[in-house]
């Protein structure tokens, strides 16, 4: 069992949790994830480690309510225990000094982007962060990113904060203005697809970190498989980061919907059971 030490509500459906786990806090690297399971009957869900504090032995997870499992996690409080937590899983991000890096995050994808962006800055790159969400309330970690980013561009769908428009509009403005050597993107699959299309046009190498359906997360089941450059790859062990220009996002988008109906029904039933 793993204790929740702190909790912060970042937006209506997004919370930040700090958990006690000294071994993972010490061994994890930017880009890696953990598998979390709540309760004996819970499912195993992958969550990227947003941050870690090896001195205090804690890791940070940022979670959005999207279904039964994430809802349970989001409504837990300091002192509560998470049943199972294992990691770090996946390959760490290859951090290099390449010049100028755009880190483009959408919605809750900003959370896993945070440690990667920070690592690229620490490696000596010029770092421009583009944060995008539906509205102002859903922009998270802006303050934390400002600490190290050379520039932050905020985009909202409704124009309630920053500029009105999609993440790609914010990126394109930067690309038109200065030479960009690398793009890193994390967000909804559909967003990453359009980021990939944009950077392909400008021939900018782009890394996307993918969050597919997983069961064991340790390279055993193949639930997370995707096509990259025509070959089947396993996100849990070959990824989670891939060359965004080679990922078949359309296939991934379909696979993400595999259980959508069942899960929505179960979520509705669960919410009703709470009332």
């Amino acid at each position: 069992m793993y204790k929740i030490l702190e909790k912060e509500v970042l937006s209506e459906n997004v919370v930040k949790l700090i958990l006690d786990n000294p071994v993972i806090a010490k061994s994890r690297k930017a880009g890696q994830f953990v598998i979390v399971k709540i309760g004996e009957k819970g499912e195993r869900i992958p969550l990227t480690i947003a941050d870690a504090d090896p001195k205090n032995g804690t890791i940070t997870l940022i979670v959005q309510k999207v279904g039964v499992s994430s809802h349970k996690l989001c409504t837990m409080n300091p002192g509560d225990l998470v049943t199972d937590l294992v990691g770090p899983l996946g390959k760490a991000t290859e951090i290099e000094k390449v010049g100028t890096v755009i880190a483009a995050g959408g919605g809750v994808g900003i959370a896993p982007l945070y440690p990667i962006a920070k690592a690229f800055k620490e490696a000596g790159n010029r770092l421009i962060v583009v944060l995008a969400a539906r509205n102002k309330d859903l922009i998270i970690l802006e303050k934390e990113m400002r600490v190290f980013a050379d520039e932050i561009v905020v985009m909202t769908d409704d124009g309630s904060y920053g500029k009105k428009g999609l993440v790609t509009a914010g990126m394109e403005e930067v690309i038109n203005r200065e030479k960009v050597d690398l793009a890193v993107t994390i967000g909804p699959a559909i967003m990453m697809k359009f980021v990939a299309l944009l950077t392909q046009k400008y021939n900018i190498h782009t890394i996307a970190s993918l969050n597919t359906i997983m069961v064991d997360g340790t390279g055993m089941c193949g639930a997370c498989r995707i096509s990259v450059g025509g070959q089947t790859k396993f996100v849990c062990v070959d990824g989670p980061e891939f060359d965004a220009h080679k990922v078949d996002f359309d296939e991934m988008l379909k696979r993400l919907n595999a259980y959508k109906q069942d899960e929505e029904a179960a979520y509705k039933q669960y919410l009703e059971s709470l009332n």
Binding site: V23, I24, S27, K37, K41, G42, E43, R44, V68, S69, T83, D84, L85, V86, G87, P88, L89, V215, D216, T218, G219, M220, C221, G222, A223, R225, I226, S227, T232, F234, V237, E251, K254, R255, N257, A258, Y259, D262, E263, A265, A266, Q269, Y270
Partner: protein, 492 residues
């Protein structure tokens, strides 16, 4: 493993054994028909996940045990990868010392209730029974093993083997499947301070995520693990050696030797068009969702699974049989095996094929999938298969399947499970670049010692064999433990 016949002779020469042998003539013993274990009716059991065979009654066990001739040179033992004293435990059953029978089993086998259920006895111990040469059916060794272990468990009088004095030397076992549990038990008996590290949230490896409840109830696995804990073995879950902590960190914590038994890894797919469509699973995923995550009880349990009406399972091994019988239990109207060879080449146990047929599984043998066709949402709706003929034997000694041109046809399916094998788990080799592996990514070991290219590391089970049986993994564990012990004693 060579059989120590001198040791066996001592047991056989016991007074009670001699008396027992004299009590019934060999002729009477051999004229008794082999007793069939009762099974639940196919049309009942194929709708639930409870166990199929019901086990022997005490009377049935005693009668079956009396068939054993207690041979002076028991050839059956040479067919057992862990060298169980087979006549030794069977004769205890015959004289109704059922708890004692379990003790004899546990001297060499840490998991008798498991082996009694999932070992392919027909190709191991039972195939070496003297009765085969007499054109009679062999003694039901597997069923008797299961009886002894179950009897002990039901009485609650579960014995643990005698342990040597604690030597405070730490050893780490990576993976809690059959190989890992065997080494844990053996090393604990020798007095070591044993820790088993498991990546998943439950102990047992393939015994809990892979083998279905209807073949191996999980309660049995838990009992076996509980016995290990009573022997002082520390069990740590949610811990991936090489990731959560590195091997180096564990060495610094005092671990002197390691046994790597991290098991099967990435599923093999056929690399044919449409294989990434939704509702196409690997057997590993399908079985893990059902067995480990209890997806058949969704939404009570949070993990979902597609309960298909027309399910095709690709492959002819035990994993494919487990998958197709699971599909039937999830409510499939058609649950089909699609296999490119014929039934006589199937690697699955005969008993499993037989059970599958009884339960209404269709066998589309000599059929090979070519392509999957999806609907607008990316869900599989059809598969294109080609009929096959059999040619000359290939390198596996089985007749090679050959496509029959123009024989392609379509089958309507809404779920497909690909059960054609796995490659070894990639996490450990990735964490140990100096560890020697084959081109199939299995770990290279000295077969006599199970030692890897790193002296303090031993390995066994699927990470070495690529895909085998529970008992072969346990056999690896026996050899590895013996040699790990030698290694530590020599390097004190």
């Amino acid at each position: 493993m060579p059989v120590d016949y001198n040791e066996l002779k001592k047991d056989r020469d016991a007074e009670w054994r001699e008396e027992l042998r004299k009590k019934v003539s060999a002729k009477d013993r051999s004229s008794q028909e082999r007793i069939k274990m009762p099974e639940r009716p196919p049309q009942v059991r194929n709708k639930d996940f409870f166990e199929v065979p019901e086990g022997f009654s005490e009377e049935q066990a005693v009668v079956e045990a009396s068939r054993c001739l207690d041979c002076p040179t028991p050839t059956c033992i040479s067919g057992c990868p862990v060298n169980i004293n087979i006549p030794g435990f069977i004769k205890e059953i015959e004289r109704r010392e059922f708890l004692q029978a379990a003790k004899v089993l546990k001297r060499t086998n840490a998991l008798p209730a498991v082996c009694g259920r999932v070992c392919p006895q027909e190709s191991q111990c039972e195939s070496k029974c003297i009765y085969n040469r007499m054109k009679k059916r062999p003694v039901a060794i597997g069923a008797l093993e299961r009886f002894s272990a179950d009897y002990e468990r039901k009485t609650g009088n579960i014995s643990i083997p005698e342990l040597a004095k604690n030597n405070n030397i730490k050893v780490a076992i990576v993976g809690s499947g059959p190989a890992g549990l065997t080494v844990a038990g053996e090393m604990a008996k020798l007095g070591y301070d044993v820790t088993v590290f498991e990546a998943l949230h439950e102990f047992g490896g393939v015994l809990v995520y892979g083998i279905p409840e209807f073949r191996l109830p999980k309660e049995i696995v838990r009992t076996e693990i509980n016995s290990l804990e009573r022997m002082g073995v520390k069990m740590v879950k949610n811990f991936i050696v090489g990731r959560t902590s590195t091997f180096e960190e564990l060495k610094n914590q005092g671990y002197r030797a390691f046994f790597i038994a991290s098991g099967a890894g990435l599923p093999t797919f056929m690399k044919i068009p449409g294989e990434n469509l939704i509702n196409i699973y690997s057997s590993n995923e399908y079985l893990t969702r059902v067995n480990l995550m209890k997806a058949f009880r969704f939404p009570e349990y949070d993990t979902p699974i597609v309960k298909g009406k027309n399910v095709a399972v690709i492959g002819g091994g035990n994993t494919a049989m487990d998958s197709v019988r699971t599909a039937k239990r999830l409510g499939a109207e058609r649950a089909m095996i699609v296999y490119r060879r014929s039934e006589s080449e199937m690697p699955a146990r005969i008993e499993e094929i037989h059970h599958a047929k009884e339960e209404g599984i269709e066998f589309l043998n000599l059929n090979n999938p070519l392509e999957y066709i999806g609907d607008a949402n990316g869900r599989v709706k059809q598969m294109k298969v080609q009929k096959m003929g059999l040619g000359e034997p290939d390198e596996s000694g089985r007749r090679r399947p050959q496509p029959i041109p123009g024989s392609e046809y379509l089958i309507d399916v809404d779920t497909v499970v690909v059960g054609i094998g796995t490659s070894p788990n990639p996490l450990i080799p990735a964490a140990l670049p100096q560890l020697e592996v084959t081109k199939w990514k299995t770990v290279v070991v000295n077969e006599k010692t199970m030692q890897t290219s790193i002296p303090e590391m031993f390995a066994g089970g699927d990470i070495v064999r690529g895909g085998a049986t529970v008992i072969l993994a346990m056999g690896d564990g026996k050899i590895a433990a013996e040699n790990m012990h030698l290694f530590i004693q020599e390097n004190k």
